[in-house]
Symmetry: C2
Subunit: 328 residues, 2 copies
């Protein structure tokens, strides 16, 4: 296994420490709980997310002004335990309530749910939203219902901006839910990822084979097929997304996301095809993100995400943010 | 070959178009010349860089306020022709002169030199600086003298900030040269990259083998060795860097750079080791960048860069910048 790591069992802790040390003035690492939090608790609704590690920069890379207040990490591809989530809630709740942004995986639903119940028993006010943006499959290996994937980044941005504006917990939740209802994603994988603790690929793809609709933990997708051109990849993924949600005539935010092992050059080529496709469909692009935002360790491949915008979502999308992975 | 591309011969053009389309308000693509430039020519010294493609986000990803005015791309791993460089000079020279930031490869030295001569024959004032930060080998496959690698990003930042401040061409050149003299880098590769037009790896590394000091085009390094831990990688690279330049007692900027196929999780783990090592040596870290800044297509591996800071360099490093790949 060729990875820049020390002991496989230490990768999550060490990556979080190494991340915090790159932003010592802004981020805090809560030892023993695998939480990255803002240094300062703000007098506002706290937005907290998290999930399994291995999707960097998701989730901790989006902690900072205008996005998350804290991110809680589990082990690689494994949900964080309720005590970790509870530690993040306790640290960041100013008394104005907490919104948990959860990706739709059974482990996360259970653990964030338990943490929420425990916090409420402790007289805190906690609400949750669940991201399920992946249109590839109706149910999946680790989820009942659609999986939550890269669209989560947009939910962090929208909820975080609303919270930063001083909105109430119910207003922040409503903005997050509007974003979620307007977001659809779908991905494609070309090579498997290797879990540090396993040391070999979790599944196989032929020399000339890709998998359409594969999940960010290597969950099965829609079909295995021959390698496609960038143009075909854009068409296949966007067709499925547009068949699920009617974006015609609307303005959208676009995320062209890499899965960790795919370099920026390829993502830019894909973006060219995405922009052409959307233009031909009469869908106006308001803002585009291209990069590795929600990854699957060293998997190569991509996902595409669209979020339909209205005036409120545009304003929240444009609002200032200052996090390791997103800043404007 | 598993890449998200269309025709191999179109990758550079299509990636630049796809990049410009992600930043339509800020960047312009000069068709036929593979140049990405700022939309607006500013009344200041223009800082222009470029080189072979395949190192994204270098160079075009650093075009924008506070860094480059334009970036010129060659084909993959191949220097841009003088006419392309000339087109960038012509577009961005406000009359206050142009600084070319060149990485030390024979093709770039020749072509940027020719473009500079032609521009001067055209009554423009053009100066050049050459980045040769890689301490791995004294000469290399494509260079007489040391190779220019990821430290180039810091040179773009320093020269760009100085130019943005309204400084003269000689002042901008002096700041860039100070940065260059204070910067040292060294890298390590774990897997080869695949050139789109070739379709197979350009060199081989064993299942359990890495190469210390390999260049960003796969040029030979210092030694092939067994896979090392993150701690050992940090030690090997930093020892060689510190043996070449005395950073003891000084304050530095650090770049923990990925080569394109290495995910952020591993770079953060490496950063933890880098920070510990520098601390033990009494070297104070002023600012740290962690990410894929100077890549080699889909190569996995990393490089480390240190830049010694004084008050001027700190101020220039901290100055506002707004580019696709660096923003603060």
């Amino acid at each position: 296994m060729k990875k820049i790591i020390n002991k496989p069992e230490d990768v999550v802790t060490e990556a979080l420490i190494g991340m915090q040390e790159a932003y010592p003035d802004k981020l805090e690492y809560i030892e023993g709980f695998e939480v990255i939090a803002r240094k300062k608790k703000e007098d506002k609704v706290a937005v907290i997310s998290g999930g399994g590690a291995g999707h960097e920069p998701l989730h901790a890379g989006f902690v900072g002004k205008g996005m998350l207040d804290a991110a809680v990490s589990g082990n690689v591809f494994s949900s964080p335990s309720p005590d970790r989530i509870g530690a993040a809630i306790e640290r960041m709740d100013s008394g104005k309530g907490v919104l948990l942004v959860i990706k739709n995986y059974s482990g996360d639903i259970m653990n964030f749910g338990l943490a929420s119940d425990l916090a409420e028993a402790d007289d805190r006010t906690v609400e949750s939203v669940v991201v399920k943006d992946d249109v590839a499959v109706p149910d999946s290996t680790y989820s009942t219902g659609r999986r939550g994937i890269a669209g989560t980044v947009f939910v962090h941005k929208i909820a975080g901006a609303k919270a930063e504006s001083g909105a109430s917990l119910s207003e922040v939740k409503a903005a997050a839910e509007k974003a979620i209802s307007n977001i659809r994603s779908m991905g494609m994988a070309m090579t498997p990822c290797i879990l540090p603790a396993v040391g070999k690929p979790g599944f196989a793809l032929g020399e000339d084979e890709i998998e359409i609709g594969m999940g960010i933990h290597g969950e099965p997708g829609v079909e295995k097929t021959k390698v496609k051109s960038a143009k075909e990849v854009a068409e296949i993924l966007l067709e499925k997304i547009l068949a699920d949600y009617d974006y015609s005539g609307s303005e959208v935010a676009v995320l062209v996301n890499g899965l960790g092992g795919t370099p920026l050059m390829e993502l830019y080529i894909l973006n060219k095809e995405v922009q052409e496709y959307l233009k031909a469909k009469g869908i106006r692009v308001y803002k585009t993100l291209v990069g590795n935002y929600t990854t699957a360790l060293d998997m190569t491949g991509c996902s595409l995400t669209l979020m339909k915008l209205d005036d409120e979502l545009k304003e929240l999308l444009d609002a200032e943010c200052d996090t390791p992975a997103l800043k404007w």
